[in-house]
Amino acid sequence: MSDFTQVAVVGLGRHYGRRRALHDLTFTAQAGDILGLLGPNGAGKSTLLAILGTLLAPSAGRVEYGGRASADAGSDLRGRIGMLGHDLFLYPELTARENLVFFGRLYGLTDAAAVASAALERAGLAARADDPVSSFSRGMRQRVALERALLHGPRLLLLDEPFTGLDQASSAALVVRLREVQARGVVTVLATHDLDVVDGVLSDVVFLQGGRRVVTGAAGALRDRYRAAMQDGPRS
């Protein structure tokens, strides 16, 4: 599959039995965008990220990656997606280097060891590269997990609550890394509750409530807009 520069969500819906998690969502994200998914718990943010990451099939609608639906693209598409989940996707018994080399090889990188070393250097963890991840602080684990998601040079980066549990310095470092990723033209979709941290980082936002889009638009004054959007309720 060739690289894509746009991800389009078209009439997307997902239900679990009789419960609707997402309903008729439509929006587009371009290369270099950092799109924020904002909303209360249970709004459907993680479900949407799972569908974008091809981990979940939609019940209605589709996601197009540069004009191709995920169903047509197959496993190659997953090689262009990087995902950082709320649970970090790291094996605590393995060292940081072993985790990155394992995932690098899983993504078919021929020089996984060298790529992992470079990633650990970038994360500022070269000195702790051979320590088990279980001995790391939350911030250190988060840095390794972000490098794991970026190891294979994805075109679409999906981040679920990436600022949770991070101190101010770690949050600032994450913002710097996101800017670097943005400069490379990666489409980033980020679900978060940390409105103050991401205000000024996001280029677009989608407010979700009860699986429905409440409002979409450029970022800025997020806290006030969030409050107003949640009071107004979903748009038909």
Partner: protein
């Protein structure tokens, strides 16, 4: 095919590395299996003599119980940091992930059975050396059938809240044919005069079950994990 095997081998190697570091699953499964056999020995061995014909059933009951424990613990590890999702995100054939997890389970259960079989031979006077290759083939075929379905169900249930209850409830009815064939085949080998033809019949039946279960699991793994 090469990519499929490469990914499966990577998953097995990763599982073995993690297990060597923690020894969690091997230690708990072995301890549990030995305990089950000892409890049966207290019930079925009188004055050094075992009740006739119970060894085969005890062997397979222990394999099923300890296998269920190992399946639960192995996938609990993938659940804790949601790493199963990370595996499913990789641009590899998703059935290769299943194959890797299955191979890891088979290695673990082979290790447990290597301890279990001599112990049952010792405590229940079972003639485990009468036809060792046929016994090994029967165990391998039965374990593959059990683990093939078990690995699929354990992966499916990894995000379910009541997974610990649901796994045996789903797994045991589905693997009844494997258990029947395993017990009858092993009983044929544990007779005073081993019935090799009968054992071969049950082994062949187990190979048939294996082919069906592995094919079904490889076919359904991706849709089951994404719906």
């Amino acid at each position: 095919m090469t990519a499929f095997l490469r990914v499966a081998a990577l998953v097995v190697r990763k599982d073995l590395t993690v297990e060597v570091r923690s020894l969690e699953v091997v230690a708990t499964t072995l301890f549990f299996a030995v305990t089950v056999v000892l409890i049966f020995a207290f019930g079925f061995v009188r004055e050094g003599l075992a009740v006739e014909g119970v060894a085969a059933a005890i062997l397979w009951i222990t394999v099923a119980f300890s296998g269920t424990l190992a399946l639960g613990r192995t996938f609990e590890r993938e659940r804790q940091a949601d790493t199963l999702r990370a595996l499913l995100l990789a641009p590899a054939d998703r059935p290769a992930i299943y194959a890797g997890k299955l191979a890891g389970m088979l290695l673990l259960m082979a290790l447990v059975e290597a301890v279990l079989v001599p112990l049952i031979g010792l405590l229940f006077q079972a003639p485990i050396l009468a036809a060792p290759l046929r016994l090994a083939a029967l165990l391998a075929a039965g374990t593959l059938g059990f683990a093939a379905i078990g690995t699929l169900f354990a992966a499916m249930l990894v995000r379910a809240r009541s997974r610990d209850v649901l796994l045996p409830v789903l797994l045991y009815p589905m693997t009844v044919p494997v258990m029947i064939a395993g017990v009858r085949g092993t009983a044929a080998l544990f007779q005073a005069e081993p019935d090799l033809d009968l054992a071969q019949f049950w082994t062949a039946l187990l190979v048939f079950f294996d082919a069906v279960f592995v094919t079904l699991a490889l076919w359904t793994f991706e849709p089951l994990m994404t719906d």
